[in-house]
Symmetry: D2
Subunit: 425 residues, 4 copies
Amino acid sequence: MNLYENEIVEWRRRFHRVPEEGWTEFETTAAVIERLESLGFAVKTGTDVINPEAVMGRNPTLVKEAEDRARRAGVPETVLRRMAGFTGCAGEIDTGRPGKTVGFRFELDCVVTGESDSPDHPPVREGFASIRPGLMHACGHDGHAAVGLGLAHWIADHLDELQGRFVLLFQPAEEGVRGAGAMAASGIADGLDYLFAAHAGCEFGPGEVGVLTHGFLATTKLDVYYEGIPAHAGSDPEKGRSALAAACQAVTSVLGIPRHSEGASRIAVGRLVAGEGRNVVPAHAFFQMEVRGATQAVNDFMTAEAVRIIEGMATVYGIRCRIEKAGEAAVFECDEECVLILEKAARSMPAVSSVRRFTTERGSEDCSMLARRVRSKGGKAGYFCFGCRHCGHHRPDFDIQDTVSLPEAFGIFVRIVQLTSSRAV
Amino acid sequence: MNLYENEIVEWRRRFHRVPEEGWTEFETTAAVIERLESLGFAVKTGTDVINPEAVMGRNPTLVKEAEDRARRAGVPETVLRRMAGFTGCAGEIDTGRPGKTVGFRFELDCVVTGESDSPDHPPVREGFASIRPGLMHACGHDGHAAVGLGLAHWIADHLDELQGRFVLLFQPAEEGVRGAGAMAASGIADGLDYLFAAHAGCEFGPGEVGVLTHGFLATTKLDVYYEGIPAHAGSDPEKGRSALAAACQAVTSVLGIPRHSEGASRIAVGRLVAGEGRNVVPAHAFFQMEVRGATQAVNDFMTAEAVRIIEGMATVYGIRCRIEKAGEAAVFECDEECVLILEKAARSMPAVSSVRRFTTERGSEDCSMLARRVRSKGGKAGYFCFGCRHCGHHRPDFDIQDTVSLPEAFGIFVRIVQLTSSRAV
Amino acid sequence: MNLYENEIVEWRRRFHRVPEEGWTEFETTAAVIERLESLGFAVKTGTDVINPEAVMGRNPTLVKEAEDRARRAGVPETVLRRMAGFTGCAGEIDTGRPGKTVGFRFELDCVVTGESDSPDHPPVREGFASIRPGLMHACGHDGHAAVGLGLAHWIADHLDELQGRFVLLFQPAEEGVRGAGAMAASGIADGLDYLFAAHAGCEFGPGEVGVLTHGFLATTKLDVYYEGIPAHAGSDPEKGRSALAAACQAVTSVLGIPRHSEGASRIAVGRLVAGEGRNVVPAHAFFQMEVRGATQAVNDFMTAEAVRIIEGMATVYGIRCRIEKAGEAAVFECDEECVLILEKAARSMPAVSSVRRFTTERGSEDCSMLARRVRSKGGKAGYFCFGCRHCGHHRPDFDIQDTVSLPEAFGIFVRIVQLTSSRAV
Amino acid sequence: MNLYENEIVEWRRRFHRVPEEGWTEFETTAAVIERLESLGFAVKTGTDVINPEAVMGRNPTLVKEAEDRARRAGVPETVLRRMAGFTGCAGEIDTGRPGKTVGFRFELDCVVTGESDSPDHPPVREGFASIRPGLMHACGHDGHAAVGLGLAHWIADHLDELQGRFVLLFQPAEEGVRGAGAMAASGIADGLDYLFAAHAGCEFGPGEVGVLTHGFLATTKLDVYYEGIPAHAGSDPEKGRSALAAACQAVTSVLGIPRHSEGASRIAVGRLVAGEGRNVVPAHAFFQMEVRGATQAVNDFMTAEAVRIIEGMATVYGIRCRIEKAGEAAVFECDEECVLILEKAARSMPAVSSVRRFTTERGSEDCSMLARRVRSKGGKAGYFCFGCRHCGHHRPDFDIQDTVSLPEAFGIFVRIVQLTSSRAV
């Protein structure tokens, strides 16, 4: 491994050890800011890269605690002040020569799952397992961010050979598809000619690269709060209004939203908590749900149906209702030009044995929100997966074989830079 | 049996043979009008005794057919014109002497059930079984109306011995508690000092008389019509709006209306018809329901809950909704003075072996609507049951042993007249 | 138009005028039998072509009435006896020379919908509109059967130029995908080397031919009968067991069967009838439903889920349950060899302006059951649509422009025969 | 106040300060055991007074923690060993003279609610407010137990004047009606001639005593656990089995259990927790519910319906189900002899201004389980309420004015002893 590759593995392991969940990545963001600035990048953070009005699924209590934790961990007050409570940052560097503006997206957040303590689990074996119980980089974002810093280093080192401008987006809260929407809404990606992003693993094994043509499901995440009227269930049942009963019927009706003839859809209610005690008419209910669609229209249909059902059911039970959008992603539409660049970049890597185009309807990816924004402004977007041997994302024993997969990903990113921005001579 | 008693049995059997369901009692009403007028009563009918705006559960198609049938059966056009489509009538007679105004309520309508053809069934054995398939006087209203005509005859014959005024109400559509509300709303019972009514059978056996103190469940009957949007369930499921799915959820939620701490309640959805074909998203649904309550407040609570649920569920499913009140009865509140009169009247009958006060929460009786109106204007109300051996109301083999039970009921009514209206000398 | 074409239009209009719904096509079957036999075909009918144990969605009362009607319309008793209550027939003819056994499927049944009486509607204008209220050939099966008879005539006339054997299947009850399963189960299509079938219209306009590669949704139709316990809803609510309430919850749960990740699915409850009267706990409920799937596995999943839910809900409500399979179709898998034959046949027709391969997930076609059987025995299957200008299948004003579209279909079928069975010389 | 009364107030305040919830009353039980033994009572505890097989609603984790806490608070290991994990005890004392065996029931447990910190709240003002956050004697059981100890003292002091035998039952876990059933099942109350119990407050004000004739609702508390199969809701929805969806439909159906014609019923689902995450098919659901009935038959009907629905719904959703009975109470049937004793006892108290018989359908009381057992063995039972000015049971600011109400209760208990057990001379 070369200098950059060694550095990337080091960063990955550092990030892996201290995972931070979505919207709380203060330590990770601070580290990224410091590094980017040391490399000569101009860095924006806080409300310059996150539009607060478009923020979804951010828990203020968790954020506050994480900010304090970061402070205790030594993150300078000046940096925290720049962030203003909003994690994520963007590093920009200009060659001073006319050319394309090329953007890259890397994620910062971990998954809310505990890490395996098996001695066979590489992070345990190598001593960089998560020090935070219940939190783990089980989706590879630690590797993505590390590759981002390696790429920044390479660009800084090779600036003379390049033209145009580079924007490296370090996005918070990808889990739950929460962060990219607010980053897109900040305008930080406006003006990009190209946006590229990547993910470790997915359905691809070691040495395999998948280039997305179009895919992922559009999705909308909703948090629903019902508020009824409490009463003693034995002595005054008629005085109560059960938020629990309303939630049950809302869930049932929501699960019955019709299929759509224009493509796959999904509907899930994954969590429901209601009621205060056995013999009290329940005054509160809360549930978390999501819809998905193979097209934006299908997802919009599902969302509109769900909202109408949920609000209507509040009327049925005579209670109050509040719905919050907790996350959102679009279908990821890739441009043929970017697909070709990615194919060329991947095929030029000796370690890559297979490059194939793919589409998928098995999950969602919120970089789609940035891609949609970039494309709406005239730019183009591309996305690829770099394979590794893994047991499944979000599992306690997830691993990415960093010394193999990350150099591969880094190599592809470098070639993207070369293919789009090599200095015209 | 005396003259009146023989006549009552004859009338009863005549009515039994030609049953007419609620709001279609044109032949029965015409017979009553003719008889009352021949006895010297002033008779009101049509909109004089029925307030069309308060009419519930009247099927215009059935009414039209019944009017034609009555025409074919020889009911004079002049009489039909007086009725103006609304069955029921009231006969009034004045002694010319100051005194109480005493009212009596008798019902005209039959039950929608086929009559037994067993040779043991008295109407079959005696040759007066229903000639109309699917219709039968299976609740004793034939006997009630017959007693009403017998009482009219007796009053006319004994007018010289009496004082005050008499109003005999022949009410349509008691089944489904549909008719009394509209009769009350016409004002025909306003000004009564007393209102009395009776029912054959109930929980009382031969020779037993029950005097109601307070009871029956208040009730509201609702017809619900949902209208959705049809679509091919295979090719365009998302274009439809299922009235059937909405009805199912409305029914389920309605059945879950909470108990009330202040007294018994009931909720029933007795019939549901929805949809056009297996593979079409159903555009129509219809269901019939009822609520009941041991108090007016409980019934009002149940009704308000049901209406909110049904209308709300239309919103949930994005469809249209229409609710029609198809029947209504109140709790029957009896006045102690009337209870005492009834006890005295019943106890003076040699054939009556037992007289006891009773209350009941097992059914509803729409004479309660007339009683409520009378009492709201300062009058008083009483109600009794005269027993007979029977197998259960509304059954195909229901019978009232007319030669025994009707003379008993007649005797009690005559004594009521004597106790309230004997000429002061 | 040539001799065959004229004859086809005549047959189509004759069939159109006297439509018969699924499993009642006694007159149509009798006409087909007579014609095929007059052309020299050996004809099988009744249980030789229908396996009674595999029959779905057949109403014995309707069948009885239709048989009597056919008898009155002059269908000979001997023919009715051969049918033994089961409509449909198969005509076989052998060239006596070795070669392929080629089968064709044509349908006989109409749709349960009333026909338009607009003077612009071609059947009205030309005087061959349905004489049976509520029944209409609104799906083109009249034309299909007519083409089948035209093809039989042509084969009989050209037998000397051909080799191998021909089997013409005239299938009952395609609507509701009820008949093909029982025809396949009879074994009548076993041994076919090729099976071809066609449909008028679909998504194709005049002059267009679509050749199916793979498609239609697999589907299962279920009729559900619930039996509860009646009781008076006011006086004994706890003694009843509501079949209506159970049906509502079963419907709701069935509509919530999860999406399947392997392909499109559908679920519909199109009709529900429950209950006896407003104030009676409902003792009976009946509903008609269907599931569909883009693969057999998806459809099997949907069916298994529905059955488990429906039976389980009977337990929930303490009632009895009966489920009847009322129809079934598979995904239609076409063989590349047949696709090529069909493309060649269609492209050789001067009147055909466009030939394209297609797949569809918008409906179901029960010829898939015959195709699956044929293929399971080593044969191959093909399917095409011949276009016409139409307003939508199953609509009262559906028409197929018989003088244009049927000659085209006939021509393609003749060419199929020539391509598969021309005498080797 | 006399010696006993002073002591009672002291005990009450001591108990109030250190509240223990149901099945964790180790410190309170230990204090009662020590006191009773010091007074000469023979004391049984542990499995001598609690039948482990009949225990309901006992959380082993909470019990373990409470035992440790008691140990740390100085409860001797020998006493804890006698309890064997089961709180509650019974003190018996024999006069040595033939006579009645008279039992009394007092409760030990507190309510799971935080205590008011208002300076106006008497326990705050007087300095004996709960030291345990989230726990409070908000139902008066502290006072009941204190009165029990005062009564024990009085009996011990006056043993010479008495005949027969006395059994003082100190029952755990009355809240949630959990403890009395297991105490009854231990046989500890078998052989009692009389059982008396009392409650502070209820619907009675200062100076008022209510003597129960018959009442409280029979009730059954159920905890329901559903276990489904998890799956990723986006990529494999069909592989999951949603315990959450099943719970929603079970709750909805349970809320629709019909009314019962023989008396009031109640049904409540007060708490529901289900699911693991937004995008995971929920594998677990848990809900707490209760039914009640004005008669045992009504409650049994409600319970049987609920169990059938809950188990059936597990079948509907193809998941596993476990139902635990978490509490149970009967209708409290009092014997006329005991009613007369209580009336006489209460009326002899100068401080009591009003004594009236009452019945109630507004709540449940698990002493009914002991009363049922005693009566099944030939004994008799009585129950009374001694009034106080209070704001409502289970509220953070509940108080019983101990210096007024407890002496009154004590006085009545002493008179019961005198009326049933004064030495025959």
